[in-house]
């Protein structure tokens, strides 16, 4: 790996949040990274939980964007609320579940996607804060990521979604690569997070255009289309989950174990589930039947 390419890869891993998350998770200090005996296999094993945690933190940052509360992620985005929000409603887990069940991204699509994301990074010319990190650490992480992807027929969609949000987040605010909380996206203000979605949703964003370059027909436009779909769906699902009974539903008994946060927030069914309401007001103008 030549020096320029090493820095590109470091930038990419940094911007999707992996470099920072790996550091926070102690992965970069592990003997495997510094003086590896079986570097790749060891790091691959360590990388999986790091990716999961990165996805979880990013989804938490997304959840509170839609429904802020009193939690640390809401505070970080500058919209602390006294009443409960998405964290209390279990929305991060709801999103992870939904993304996991929505669709695994096949590696046929993901490998060119990763290449495209790297190209996008190279072309974007975003200046990142100088980070400490030996080139061999970058190379190890990079190889481990490649190995992880190679060993799995599919990559969990939460990881892809988190990578997308973090990549764009560090374009919006390069300093978000480091700081409190576990992902660049979560380190943004509410307005900056909105800007991330404006980039993802833009009719012909440079990023999306670049993504399709690496895809053959008939997949061309499928990846960019999927990302546009994801850009909307992430917000819609976060909203749906935050105001649903997801976190307090017992699927075995098919009953609520507590009042859903969304019901409290909206004043829905103050006395719990009903069979009906005394809401019948008659017929408009007394007309019960029309003909012709």
């Amino acid at each position: 790996m030549d020096e320029a390419r090493t820095w590109d890869r470091r930038g990419f891993l940094t911007r999707i949040g992996l470099f920072g998350a790996a550091g926070a998770g102690g992965l970069l200090a592990a003997p495997a990274a510094a003086a590896p005996r079986e570097p790749i296999e060891d790091v691959v094993g360590l990388l999986r939980p790091v990716l999961d945690e990165l996805a979880r933190d990013t989804m938490t940052g997304l959840s509170v964007f839609v429904c802020p509360g009193p939690d640390a992620h809401s505070v970080a985005q500058g919209t602390r609320r006294s009443e409960p929000g998405a964290v209390e409603a279990g929305t991060p887990r709801f999103l992870l579940d939904a993304l996991n069940k929505f669709m695994p991204l096949p590696d046929e699509l993901l490998r060119p996607a990763v290449a495209a994301l790297v190209t996008a990074l190279s072309d974007a010319g975003v200046h990142l804060p100088i980070l400490d990190g030996l080139p061999n650490v970058v190379a190890t992480l990079d190889k481990a990521l490649a190995k992880l992807l190679q060993n799995n027929a599919t990559v969990p969609l939460p990881v892809v979604a988190a990578a997308l949000l973090n990549l764009v987040a560090t374009g919006v605010k390069p300093a978000a690569v480091a700081g409190p909380l576990g992902s660049p996206f979560s380190r943004l203000s509410f307005a900056e997070k909105a800007t991330v979605f404006s980039v993802i949703e833009a009719p012909l964003p440079d990023l999306v255009a670049v993504l399709d370059v690496h895809l053959p027909q008939p997949l061309k436009a499928s990846l960019s289309g999927l990302l546009k779909f994801l850009g909307g769906a992430l917000l819609e699902f976060a909203a749906f989950g935050s105001y649903s009974e997801f976190a307090v539903f017992d699927p075995v008994r098919r009953k609520l174990i507590a009042r859903p946060v969304g019901w409290t927030l909206s004043g829905y069914q103050p006395d719990g589930p009903v069979e009906g309401w005394d809401e019948f007001l008659g017929y408009y103008q007394g007309r019960q039947e029309v003909r012709g």
Binding site: F197, L219, A221, S222, A239, Y243, G276, D278, R291, G292
Partner: protein, 592 residues
């Protein structure tokens, strides 16, 4: 060999099954999803449990909810809200049965005739369809909707605009009215009590105003299946098809197999013409394949599945119109905030509407909190107050259109769900060949073959479609303001495909239609289509169920005449209502 195989038990398929079963034909209905035989034991009325598109019991997927939902590729910001299972999307619909506007048929000569999608009219007249509309209205049955506070509020807004009240079933001018809906009207304690102990059948009959239409209707408690208030086909036409011998002289009950995913339509050349001969279907549970042959095959798997099945079967597509011309009413959502409660989300999901022939319509909508939050985050205009995504139309609403999210969503919802009045815009949208269903190129084929890809242009609609939508969004905001809302927001929905029509459209020209005027395939004889995909166009904006079922009734007559030498019956007979006690008794005997 069966007489007829019907693929799909949604809004349209069961109509053909019921009508032909009544004539004594041997009808097999294959449904890819579940039959919820005992909703009280299988369902709740909670939004995520019911409506989560990936895991809910009203999702697009097999009966086993631990297995994945069926994937559709959506290469744009959009959503297709499909439901598998007996009843299809009528399981979550609101039971609205408006008639189509006469202007979308080829006999229309009104002064505004040129204002419709005249390139894609129905290849026969409104007068011809009218007896079939009336037949379905009597079967469902359809009635004038009862009123709750959200309807009263909507009407107040319409009154402020000076619109006339429509007092006929057929719409002929801009007007407003209670819906004509297929919801049994409230009697006894229904609608008059919130006491659970008082809302059991038969003390309560008809709609109890529970507000759970989108979560599936299983009320009143204790009612027989064909007495549930909302007339989704799992409560109306399917019970009739399964009990045809009980209520029709010479009737033969249909056979229904669920979790039976049809993966191939078979055709062979007979008398020099390609002719449908049967289907192959896969059991979702055992994953075994089965083949059944029939004299006639009726496709009713929906606007997305029909083209996929057609293309996966290798059937001919000579003019390349299979899957093209999808219409979706290009829905939009406008919401108003009131100082006082306006009854959201109690009562039938929507019981009031306004119509604007040649432009489309509006209807009030009540939904529980998660769906309301979803609806207010589904936009093509970015996030209100932050970015407009190149759109953000302005009008008689507050600020540019866009998502309401974060602190703003919270403030809007904060203890105020009952204070929100939402109105859905139903655009009379043009048939456009670019809006289409194709087979996905993603290597994501499921166990049933390559998956469908639904391409819907959110912005490149025809000028008429776009102008209609803007006109209606403005009227919606004016209605809400006229009713007294303090703030009004337009969301500017991305394509949300809740009403999907015309992907296998019938038409007068061989150049741009898949079906002839009898709903029979031009390319494959003995192959008919009997769901919303057969519609020629978007009906002008009215909800598609009534027209789909009327057309399916007409199609059943055409099948009976051409393939079984029978006579038509709609002009000569009287329909049996789906609540008929003979059906109730037989359902009980069958344990259904």
């Amino acid at each position: 060999m069966r007489d007829v195989i019907v693929v799909g038990a949604g809004a349209g398929g069961p109509v053909v099954a019921k009508e032909l079963a009544a004539k004594g034909l041997d009808v097999l209905v294959l449904e890819a999803g579940p039959r919820h035989a005992d909703p009280r034991a299988e369902w709740t009325s909670f939004e995520n449990d019911a409506n989560n598109p990936l895991t809910g019991f009203l999702r697009l997927g097999p009966t086993d909810r631990t297995r994945p939902a069926w994937f559709r590729e959506l290469p744009q910001n959009s959503f297709v809200w499909q439901v598998s299972g007996v009843g299809g999307t009528t399981q979550h619909f609101y039971g609205n049965y408006p008639r189509p506007y006469p202007g979308v048929f080829d006999d229309y000569t009104g002064p505004d005739a040129a204002a419709y999608d005249i390139q894609h009219r129905f290849p026969f007249g409104f007068r011809e369809l009218l007896p079939y509309l009336e037949w379905v209205e009597a079967t469902a049955p359809v009635a004038t909707a009862a009123m709750g506070h959200k309807e009263q509020t909507f009407f107040r807004g319409c009154e402020s605009l000076g619109l006339p009240v429509q007092t006929t079933k057929t719409t002929r001018e801009a007007s407003y009215r209670p819906q004509q809906n297929a919801v049994l009207q409230p009697h006894g304690t229904a609608g008059r009590s919130a006491d659970t102990d008082l809302l059991h059948y038969p003390r309560a009959t008809g709609c109890t105003f529970c507000g759970y239409c989108f979560q599936g209707c299983m009320r009143p408690v204790g009612a027989p299946r064909n007495q549930y208030a909302k007339r989704s086909t799992d409560n109306s036409y399917v019970p009739m098809a399964l009990t045809a011998d009980a209520w029709a002289r010479g009737g033969k009950p249909s056979t229904l197999i669920t979790d039976a995913y049809v993966t191939r339509i078979h055709a062979e050349t007979r008398n020099g013409k390609l002719t449908a001969s049967g289907v192959t279907w896969k059991d979702n549970t055992t994953e075994t394949e089965h083949r059944e042959d029939a004299r006639v095959v009726v496709l009713a798997g929906g606007c997305v599945e029909n083209p996929r099945l057609w293309l996966n079967s290798g059937l001919p597509n000579p003019n390349d119109w299979v899957g093209r011309g999808v219409t979706d009413h290009f829905l939009d959502w406008v919401v108003g905030v009131f100082d006082d409660p306006v009854g959201n989300p109690k009562g039938v999901g929507s019981a009031a509407r306004a119509d604007f022939p040649s432009k489309g319509g509006l209807e009030n909508v009540g939904v529980p909190p998660a769906l309301h939050a979803f609806a207010m985050n589904f936009s093509d205009s970015g996030i209100h107050g932050h970015y407009a995504n190149g759109r953000g139309p302005v009008g008689p609403w507050d600020g540019p259109a866009g998502r309401l999210t974060g602190p703003m969503l919270k403030d809007l919802m904060s203890g105020r769900l009952e204070n929100l009045l939402s109105v859905v815009v139903l655009t009379d949208d043009d048939v456009q060949p670019e809006n289409r269903v194709v087979r996905s190129g993603l290597p994501l084929g499921d166990e049933h073959g390559p998956v469908p890809k639904v391409q819907m242009w959110g912005r490149k609609r025809t000028r008429r479609t776009l102008e209609n939508r803007e006109f209606l969004a403005r009227r919606a905001a004016e209605v809400i303001r006229g009713a007294g809302a303090k703030r009004v927001y337009r969301i500017d929905w991305a394509p949300l495909l809740l009403h999907i029509q015309s992907s296998m459209r019938m038409g007068g020209s061989e150049r741009d239609s898949v079906l002839d005027s009898d709903a029979q395939s031009r390319a494959v004889r003995g192959l008919y289509i009997a769901d919303t995909s057969a519609l020629a166009n978007a009906l002008g904006g009215p909800n598609p169920t009534l027209t789909t079922q009327a057309l399916a009734t007409r199609t059943a007559e055409k099948i009976f005449a051409e393939h079984f030498g029978g006579d038509p019956w709609v002009y000569a007979d009287n329909p049996v209502v789906s609540t008929d006690p003979r059906i109730t008794v037989r359902l009980g005997q069958l344990g259904l």
